[in-house]
Symmetry: C2
Subunit: 315 residues, 2 copies
């Protein structure tokens, strides 16, 4: 099908997105009205993320289905990172009139598949014309009566641990940037992050003191916890498992594989600090929280301030 | 100040936006963490709107302060249109690295001024690079235990009424399109919509049966109510007050002033149906809801199907 957005008209396109939506039991008004209405059990958690063409993705590197998965996964990871239970998303899609309807069908497929995986409902959104693709996703969640996990609660003596993947997406991007399509596992990890859904609530139940999701890079995001909590975080690089495909890509691209793990974002692993001995089973301990002792809040690697690549920033 | 986003860096820019934010008492975690956390009294209402440069606005027609006002006002109007009480917004701003920091300061000023007017808190957002300005606003609200007002509840015999402005923004846009800057009242109405905050809750309390905000155009948006409710809506054009500046602009541009009132959007008036005799004082009655009687759901003007301009659609 070669029909474009311009051929279809706004309201037909919106119907095409919403016709497959199955709203959860907490949703009393779904897509199609001025606003969606849903019940909230405990406090509401809300977070907004935007993904822009040629900034966050290139359409020749990720399929429309991938874009749908990525935009939902990245936004919902922020709800997980508050120790909350994700419930719903809204999506504002801006696209050129020349955008093909089959791109929209793939995007919708990816969005709804990732929503199903995350157990959230697509409750609303907006559709607008623009020069390039831009997707803003707002993710909603609820605390279920638990206190949310902020960035500022890390205490000296806490263990630092993560759950999910580190460096895979960055290595996949490095491969794509050089014009290759394999190793498939890494390229696939870049195209569709494997967000550890449920790990946020798990961390909350186990008394996590601070939490963030790794969207910019391990050191960059851990630095947010260090700054907010007023602590030094020391990572033991020996605890970071470097998977074989990452070693291969680092070798082929002349990089230190640790750069992928320490500075690679977009895998949306969850990174948290726990009271000593409280780290849940599936989390990997990678370091400790230390008192400042006259130092500025910072991230150390093997006892040294890390001066290598840190992670992505806009502007 | 001629500094650009590229000179400042992402996190300095975010701090520049959030430093003036005053969160309402229901907000327990404001901007700066992975997600915001707030209490919700009754069911949650959520709506997302996107505004793109050169589609929804031109930077030579609206100031940065205006853009801030417009994006918040347009999104919050959707919460009003559900008969709910607006509480918060999140904003995803995409901008080129060449964007000037004083544009951001003006935008932030407009956003926070409109938030104050609407009595909502800015609780979070995202900042990303992009080729052009794009702003996605998610507005949140609560029903306070009342049933939300949907589009599908209009019943034969109901009165149709609106509160706010009709046609002003469209006439202002017509003026700007022709290179003029006056009448100021109309240009100003286009630049900063005067959303009738509180009117949504007022309509809900008075038993409104259906409601929508006029973002695309009176006929276009009323048609959504007609379609969803399965009714014919008949507008009496004699009840539509045509202000003098609209008459002047229509005369100067060779248009029928009624076109501005019937097809002009972006004023974000609230449009609702009420049981006969229940229309609140500040609302203007403009028509009636009729049974289909063999007709398709539609909007009539003076008993005739309206064949003139209807309103804006993307694609």
């Amino acid at each position: 099908m070669n029909e474009t957005f311009g051929d279809m008209g706004e309201f037909s396109l919106i119907q095409r997105i919403t016709r497959s939506v199955i709203a959860g039991p907490q949703v009393s008004v779904g897509p199609g009205d001025d606003g969606a209405v849903m019940s909230v059990d405990g406090a509401l958690v809300v977070s907004t993320d935007v993904m822009n063409e040629n900034v966050h993705f290139r359409t020749d590197w990720v399929s429309s289905v991938d874009v749908g998965h990525r935009c939902v996964g990245g936004a919902v990871a922020d709800i997980e990172a508050m120790g909350a239970v994700p419930t719903a998303v809204t999506i504002a899609l801006s696209a050129p009139a020349s955008c093909r309807v089959d791109w929209l069908d793939g995007f919708t497929e990816g969005v709804l598949a990732e929503c199903a995986k995350a157990e959230v409902s697509l409750v609303g959104g907006d559709l607008s014309s623009a020069d390039r693709l831009s997707i803003a996703v707002t993710a909603l969640g609820q605390t279920g009566g638990r206190a949310p996990i902020r960035r500022d609660g890390a205490r000296p003596g806490d263990a630092v641990a993560y759950r999910g993947r580190l460096g895979w997406a960055a290595a996949g991007l490095a491969v794509l940037t050089r014009g290759f399509r394999s190793p498939r596992a890494l390229v696939g990890a870049y195209q569709r992050p494997d967000v550890p859904y449920g790990a946020g609530l798990e961390a909350n139940r186990r008394g996590a003191t601070a939490m963030i999701d790794v969207s910019d890079g391990l050191v960059a995001d851990l630095d947010h916890i260090a700054q907010a909590s007023g602590v030094v975080v020391d990572i033991d690089s020996g605890t970071l498992d470097v998977p074989d495909p990452l070693v291969a890509v680092a070798h082929a691209t002349g990089k230190d594989p640790l750069d992928f793990l320490l500075a690679g974002g977009e895998d949306h692993a969850l990174l948290a600090t726990f009271p000593f001995g409280q780290v849940p089973a599936l989390w990997t301990v990678i370091g400790t929280v230390q008192a400042l002792d006259g130092r500025d809040p910072a991230v150390f690697v093997d006892g040294q301030q890390w001066l290598g690549a840190r992670g992505w920033t806009h502007f």
